[in-house]
Amino acid sequence: MFRRRLAGALAAGMAAAALLTGCGGGDAADGPVTLKVLTWEPGGTEYWKQVKTSFEAGHPDIKLEMQSVPFDKYPEVQGPYITSQSGPDVMANNAGLELFDRRGAYVPLGDKAAEITKDLVTYSGACEGFDTAKPCYGVPFSYQGNVLYYNKAVLTAAGLDPEQPPATWDEFGAACEAVKKAGKTCLALGLSGTFPAYWDFPEIARNYLTEDDVRALLAGKLSWKDPKLVAVLEKLAEITTKGWANKNAPSITMLPDGADIFQRGDAAFAGTIISDAVNWDAFGKALGDDKLGVTRWPAVDPAAPLAQKFSGIEGAVYGVTQWSQKKAAGLEFITWLAGKENGELWVKHAKGQPLNKNVDKALLPSSPAFQKIQELVAQPTLHAGVMLSGPEADALARGWQQVTLGQLTVDKWAEAMQQALERSPTKKQTK
């Protein structure tokens, strides 16, 4: 109730300020305000229908008009809006550098950020440098990261213990050899597009980097020729060059193509995200909940300070656009997104990881895979993937594809990464 009143007060304050400065244009003067929301619909269509219904029921003065874009096409659709400084009133971006790259498109939340996000389990990925003392540009409501899903039946058929999945790199290599002998793919992988590399990179990087290194990566101050980063690239390369993944990985996407291989029961492992796309649920339905296991990616160096942690990041962040004429209504909507009501919708309809700590625990799914994910996310650390600029993420993905096809050495890959860092507009600024 207090949050609603607070949101109302904030909205009223902003509307008055906007009116005084003469830029309040279309805000709720006559009839309901229609907010255009650009989203890739994390959590699925049903969840977003519920968002629209519930929000509009509680806010009769605001209507939501969703523009839904597939996740992998989102940057290309959003970019022209930002370039032309026109379009939606509220937009989503992944927390971290993707959002910082586009921060000029969003209204900074200022002091309101702390109030809006005070009930969230964690909040920093929407703020510059992961520092809440610096400007923050939006509001998340989900928690995101990468785990290794495994098919217990495939492990059993390969003579492995499904209750003891490989925990180290060497054990994983041995398991892959056994799985291959049993005629299956070890790791279902799709490398087309930026996101698979972007999500898998931190799982290896955690073994070599400290949190300070990850911050240096964000600031563009850690060279890609640094032995630690070269070692990360070498281990990524091993995944495909040692034949642990499907041969066509460079030309297929992870979601849905790579995930399909796993869901068909043709692969032992699939490394992919925990929320937004509800993979544990989809995999559980395809393979049976009792056949689906979840584990942390194998540790290259189990003693490394971050090796046993979870590279986590807030999920999609929603912010109000600079060019919106309906900023007050936009702020009201994103404030609602961070609240308990939406947190519970998120759990019920999207089966995602909620970020609001007041969400009723009884609503959380009882699936063993989901429960295991709760254990893993309990010890979070910074997510190195979201520290990569657009050119770096692109070079990481293309480099991995080329290394897999034998067209590039790891050293050349590191050089390409360094060149990508040097031509990253945002990191040029932060140097």
């Binding site: 930002i82 066509n248 050119p391 080329q402 067209q407």
Partner: protein, 319 residues
């Protein structure tokens, strides 16, 4: 007899032609001129607004350095010199040249098919309709369709294996050259129908008797094609060539977008996709514009000979 005292007028010299009488300007001519101008003006305004202004704006942006979506500053020719050190740019233009090398297929294949339809080969009505169908499918849908068709276990490889062509059942989108030429083949499938229609329109202008006479004189299919059809169809062939030369790179864009995103690695990276990536994903507007201008010059150089030829053909006076 009367004697006149009035001065005698000078006789007009017989060899001096009479001065031409100045015709008063016809009001119809002025009206024609204004009508012509009025008819041309909308097209001119559209061309200036949507072609010239964006081009000039692109040139201006290409001389700016921008950081993210923030402000920009003048960078002179930096973005252009930077291109020479960027392996991705060089690879994208090398790939573009490989695509351009397939142009003869783009020009000849629809011509052959159009001629087969024109001479009413068996099933010509069916094929005339069927050839055009792929062109009516949105390219992005074509891309999604061919993701399935070209998959390692997709229908194409299943067909090849079933007819004993196992060695040809490769991972089409997984190799440096197979991925690029697979994309070109898909684009050709999607657009050749337009070429067939264009040639059919041109063939309709060739008198039946000419082709019949060549046939009666014993000219085979390819002889008729080379010695009769091609010379008489030169303006149409030139038109289709220009369209292909300038369009093939653009036609591939939605397929790259849906099928490969420029990969694997840089195998299917073409300049226009790189412009898109650089501008909207890397947020480097100045550099993206510079690559776009380089692409414009590349396509202009490709098209210039055909355009010149078309202009000459179009302005040649009938004998």
């Amino acid at each position: 007899m009367t004697i006149s005292t009035a001065p005698v007028s000078e006789p007009v010299a017989a060899d001096t032609p009479p001065a031409p009488a100045r015709r008063p300007p016809r009001p119809g001519r002025a009206r024609e001129w204004w009508l012509g101008a009025a008819l041309v003006l909308p097209a001119l305004v559209l061309a200036v607004l949507f072609k010239l202004v964006p081009l000039v704006r692109g040139v201006v942006t290409s001389t700016e350095s921008s950081s993210g979506f923030g402000g920009s500053e003048f960078a002179g020719a930096d973005n252009y010199t930077r291109m020479f050190d960027d392996p991705m740019v060089l690879t994208s233009f090398r790939n573009a040249l490989l695509v351009v090398a397939t142009l003869p297929v783009w020009i000849v294949l629809p011509l052959v098919l159009a001629l087969l339809i024109h001479q009413r080969s068996p099933g010509w009505k069916f094929f005339r309709a069927v050839y055009f169908v792929p062109y009516t499918i949105a390219p992005i849908v074509v891309g999604i369709m061919f993701r399935q068709i070209l998959a390692p276990d997709g229908p194409l490889n299943a067909l090849l294996r079933s007819v004993g062509l196992q060695p040809l059942a490769i991972e089409w989108l997984n190799g440096r050259y197979s991925a690029l030429f697979s994309l070109v083949a898909v684009a050709l499938w999607s657009f050749f129908g337009l070429g067939v229609m264009t040639y059919l329109a041109g063939l309709a202008t060739i008198p039946e008797e000419t082709l019949e006479a060549a046939y009666l004189d014993g000219a085979g299919f390819f002889r008729r094609l080379w010695s009769v059809v091609v010379p008489m169809l030169r303006p149409t062939v030139a038109y289709w060539s220009v369209l292909c030369a300038s369009g093939v790179l653009i036609w591939l864009f939605p397929l790259i977008y849906a099928l490969t995103q420029g990969g694997p690695g840089d195998a299917t990276m073409l300049p226009e996709y790189l412009v898109f990536l650089t501008t909207f994903q890397f947020l480097d507007r100045g550099y993206g514009s510079a690559i776009g201008i380089a692409l414009f010059v590349f396509v202009a150089v490709l098209s210039i000979f055909s355009v010149r030829h078309m202009f000459t053909e179009g302005t040649r006076k009938p004998r």
